[in-house]
């Protein structure tokens, strides 16, 4: 069965709008009658991922695919890439600056949170090319 697909453009220039795609996704999932716990986990994972694309990668795209048994969230950007993914995945590791800290992010908990709240997460990244994060939450 073809999944239901929802596409979002994530603006990397406007910090104050960061998180809007996640808000939209959450509304759509609620309309679809997805269970609250699944929505919560998708929302947290997508929000952290969206914020990362804004603060670290000048924006990107988010694609959400709803299958009968799972939700897949694909975040893709053409930012600087992540040189050491294992290091980036460590709790507390962050290259964030003060501007990011002032937003309440940059504590190095984003990627670990995304992993914690999803059943599966893969990070593909090439320095100078971009980053693709694929997350699956089971229904």
């Amino acid at each position: 069965m073809d999944p239901l697909k929802i596409h979002f453009e994530v603006d990397g220039e406007d910090f104050s709008s960061a998180g809007e795609a996640s808000v939209e996704m959450k509304k759509k999932l609620r309309q679809l009658g997805i269970p609250a716990d699944v929505i919560r986990r998708c929302s947290i994972a997508m929000y952290e991922g969206e914020i990362n694309m804004v603060i670290h990668a000048h924006g990107g795209t988010a694609d959400v695919e709803v299958y009968p048994d799972r939700i897949v969230i694909i975040l893709e950007d053409h930012g600087p890439g992540i040189p050491d993914i294992d290091l980036a995945m460590q709790e507390g590791y962050s290259t964030a600056n003060d501007r990011i800290h002032n937003m309440g992010f940059g504590a190095g908990m984003g990627l670990p949170n995304m992993k914690r709240y999803t059943e599966d997460m893969t990070v593909e990244s090439t320095v100078g090319v971009g980053t693709k994060v694929t997350m699956t939450v089971k229904l």
């Binding site: 104050s16 709008s17 960061a18 998180g19 809007e20 996640s22 808000v23 959450k26 609250a36 919560r40 929302s43 947290i44 929000y47 952290e48 914020i51 002032n102 937003m103 309440g104 992010f105 504590a107 908990m109 984003g110 949170n113 914690r116």
Partner: protein
């Protein structure tokens, strides 16, 4: 605990969604790091924070929170308040600092910390 009781306990001012003051809340979480809120706060909690930006409201939305309390008398911008209003989230501002505000609510015995 009703949000109106929280408002009274903290001598707080309501900036939006007065009509929701009768709503019941069961837990609270205080933090300025939004990643920690996302990681550790339970859904429907009250969020106590000293951070002022739209991401605070969006973080609260991710967790279906009904009320945000800004401490230290910090006034959120109209953009923050209107985002909260559109989404039915009560915004309170209290002159208490975060430690005192949290202590007062904790001492009420009516809110859990998880």
């Amino acid at each position: 605990m009703k949000i109106s009781e929280i408002k009274n306990l903290l001598d707080a001012e309501t900036l939006c969604c007065d009509e929701e003051l009768d709503s019941e809340v069961e837990s609270a979480f205080c933090c300025d790091m939004m990643s920690d809120v996302l990681a550790f706060a339970s859904s429907h909690s009250v969020l106590i924070t000293g951070l002022l930006n739209p991401q605070v409201v969006r973080t609260a939305m991710m967790l279906d929170m009904k009320c945000i309390i800004f401490v230290c008398g910090k006034s959120p911008t109209p953009e923050i308040v209107s985002l909260a209003r559109e989404n039915g989230i009560v915004v309170l501002v209290t002159g208490h600092y975060m430690f005192a505000a949290s202590g007062l609510l904790y001492n009420s015995g009516k809110l859990s910390g998880v």
